[in-house]
């Protein structure tokens, strides 16, 4: 079995993993980091999105064995002391209802704002097209990402 060393949310782990084990199951079932949910089995929904070395990936599409030597950030490790501006903006803009898509939506937005710090509404919608939400109709999600972008731009 492959042996991996990985930092998840700032903590170092070393584990033997079955070759077929998905990253999302490693996070949930082995590490108990259940903040990352699973919404589909075809990598359409994006609920399981995490940051792998700073970039968003769907953790159902990555094998645990592939993350050896990497840094993984889940929704549980995003806040540094205080909430990330996107976490605040999602609450402020009522960008979540059931909240199941929210971890993935926020982490995909983190990546979006890294490469497009001042996105138009259109760019936000296209940037998040790999993340499905069934509750909000996306309007308040767009609003939240816009708000966070403004705040992050102002503090940068």
């Amino acid at each position: 079995m492959p042996r991996i060393r990985v930092h998840v949310d700032g903590t170092a782990y070393e584990d033997e993993v079955e070759g077929r084990l998905l990253l999302v199951h490693y996070l949930r079932d082995r590490l108990g980091l259940v903040g990352t949910p699973i919404g589909c089995d075809t990598s359409n929904c994006g609920a399981c999105t995490v940051l792998l070395d700073g970039h968003s990936v769907k953790s159902c599409s990555v094998l645990a064995a592939q993350v050896d030597g990497s840094q993984v950030t889940t929704i549980q490790g995003l806040a540094e002391g205080e909430w990330h501006p996107l976490q605040k903006a999602f609450r402020e803009s009522h960008a979540l209802q059931c909240g199941y898509c929210t971890p993935g939506m926020i982490l995909a937005s983190v990546d979006l704002l890294q490469h497009t710090p001042d996105p138009s509404d259109e760019e936000i919608r296209h940037g998040l097209e790999g993340n499905l939400c069934r509750c909000t109709g996306y309007q308040n999600i767009v609003r939240a990402v816009r708000t966070a972008a403004d705040e992050m731009g102002a503090s940068a």
Partner: protein, 833 residues
Amino acid sequence: MTEDIDVGAVATLVEDSGEMGTPDGTREVGRSRRRKEDAKLVTGQTMWTDNIQLPAMLHLAVLRSPMAHAKITRIDVSPAMSMPGVVAVFSGADLKDELGSLPCAWPVTTDMVQPDHPPIAYDEVRYVGDAVAVVAARDRYQAADALEAIEIDYEPLGAVVDMEEALKDETLVHSDKGTNKAFVWPLETGDVDAAFQDAPVLVKRRFIQQRLIPTAMEPRAVVVHPVAAADEYTVYSATQIPHVLRVMLALSTGLPEQKIRVVAPDVGGGFGSKLDVYAEESIALIVAKRLGRPVKWTESRSEGYQATIHGRDQIQDVEIAADRDGRIRGLKVDLKADMGAYLQLITPGIPLLGASMYVGIYKMDAYRFSCTGVFTTKTPTDAYRGAGRPEATYAIERIVDELAAELDMDPLELRRRNWIQHEEFPYTTAGGLTYDTGNYEAATERAMELFGYDPLRAEQAKRRESDDPVQLGIGISTFTEACGGAPSRILGQLSYAGGGWESASIRMLPTGKVEVVTGTSPHGQGHVTAWSQIAADALGVPFEDVEVLHGDTKSSPTGWDTYGSRSVSVGGVAVHLAAQRTVEKARRMAAHMLEAAEGDVEFSAGTFSVKGSPEAKKTIQEVALATFAAHDMPEGVEPSLNAEYVFDPENFSYPHGTHLCAVEIDTETGFVTIRSYVAVDDVGSVINPLIVEGQVHGGLAQGIAQALYEEAVYDAEGNLVTGTMVDYLVPAAPDLPEFTTDRTETPSTSNPLGVKGVGEAGTIASTPAVINAVVDALRPYGVNDMRMPATPERVWRAIREGSTGGDRAAEGTIAWGGSQTATTAGAESGSAQ
């Protein structure tokens, strides 16, 4: 509209009792409070059912039938027993004596055909996805692996997927019943024959409500924790209905109800799909009982697309009779509703929830409705957002547009001539319901202002004249619906097995904080926030001091749960009334403490004072502490400060609104783009405008998705062709427009808060608004109807053939990609999920 909502204007509409309000003098009801629920959701500290890990817990995987209809001639589970990590494997025959039939709580007619519904099939399978065996193993991968070792032989019995084919009774879904017809349910008011005889104008259409897959983002899951020695069972389920589930599990398995505790932990959306009692809930309970160990089952998305209920799937034959001046004389509706292979919890009742709503907001002399329930070899249908009312609203709003076209009259003008005027309420419709309040004029006027109706009509004329390749269509939907389910008396009249009341209790804690216990079971609606606002106002305590307990039959023992936009108008009202009852008890204690007559004690913003001596006062927190210590109680008042209220409404509430949609259609590609969408909803008084706006947005998304994107397609052999998220198009952000929303407020008189319900309004209104816009754009091409979803292919064909775009299933094509480029990299590696 994205601007902030005028909170002040909203608050003034709630009748001021003179006693409500928080200690700082502000009103909570009507404020756009940010949600208490969100902190855990945005930080990943949620307790979804699949997050639950218990000592020695086993994972269940369910083997499902790949055949739509077959006899099980042989099943051998023993090869799976020796697979790594496997603890037990059961076939249907192994468990059949302990698993009762899954319940259907709505025998809509006395002669309804109600087939046995075993949670695991043991002799015959009747749809692709029917459970046939279950594995319990140490982890989810091992459980999934073991499924492949089970040996099973089937003898095909023939699929029947089309309702009209099924009604020929050539292939029987349940051969022992002798028919595929589940029931026929009629309703008639007025003299229908007179209304239609000699009617100057008759318009007839057949509308198809395609099959939809609800797709709540959280897949279903269930965890059962048995305490074998005590014969006690805690069932955690991703359900909308923990209270109903508890009763039904007791009835179907024979386990004593008091030994079963049901918990709905954090639940990630439902839209009706978790308003059910499912095979896996019974299976998990009985397997946990057998093994004496906790078990967990979590569906994969593709598994859920087969094994979780579907919605809609109806054929509507609709005919309207009118005079030349546009006055509607009568309406006939002949409905066929696909039940699927079995009757789930309220499957037969779903089409009937719309039975009285086909008349919409219009006055007419006569109405005839008949619904035939039909069995097919497909996944059972049941409640999906709106449940019966979207279908009814679609039919009436579409046929009214067709009538307008026939009369060459503006469709808004035709509606105006027929709708109930605001001064005519309460109004008993030809559907037999009494609408309490409404103001269709006000909502329509506001919507037209925001939409720019006249300029858009002018632009449409210009584009038509110039033969512009991009044509413009305008769609109208002036809808109403019935919420506040339900007066228990009416449910009884409709043969529903359950009631429709809701319970709430208020517990003032010794420290002056408050626990609200509710029988509603939220899964995204924000009840913790909204119920806190209601209680804070009535008790005069800070919003932050209120906690809301729900979704656990141990802490919240009674209730009818959350569905059908019922929660605020039944459960929220119960909270309000329980809080008022608490204040009345506190008033007696305060009078005793202040040595005043009870009638002289006034209550305002959380403080009791004596009329005429304003210095003599006690806060409700002081009173709560005094009742806790109970050293000196007045005669006849029991210690502790709490109260309960069970509210059973007298009538439904009737949200309404006017939705206007403008679409642009590229006539060369058939691609439909929503250019603008205006929704003006009247949901009565509003507790939290931010939450209301969010509910409308999400509702619109699902209604638009039915119009443009989603369809569950079966092939002739009964295979679900759109069986994964790759093939079933749930819209993503680029597929939906920016909505303009606003509200008018006509308080309901069916309850003391004036609230109506908002969960389904957007979905009910938007589907016909979009399709009316599409048909309006294409009318010059000879198009007078459009099959849903209005995919580019269908629209393109309709333009060329002057047709409805045809039947996608028959054409053998499947879902289209919209703007999404599905990434399928995980498909091959995700099999064990």
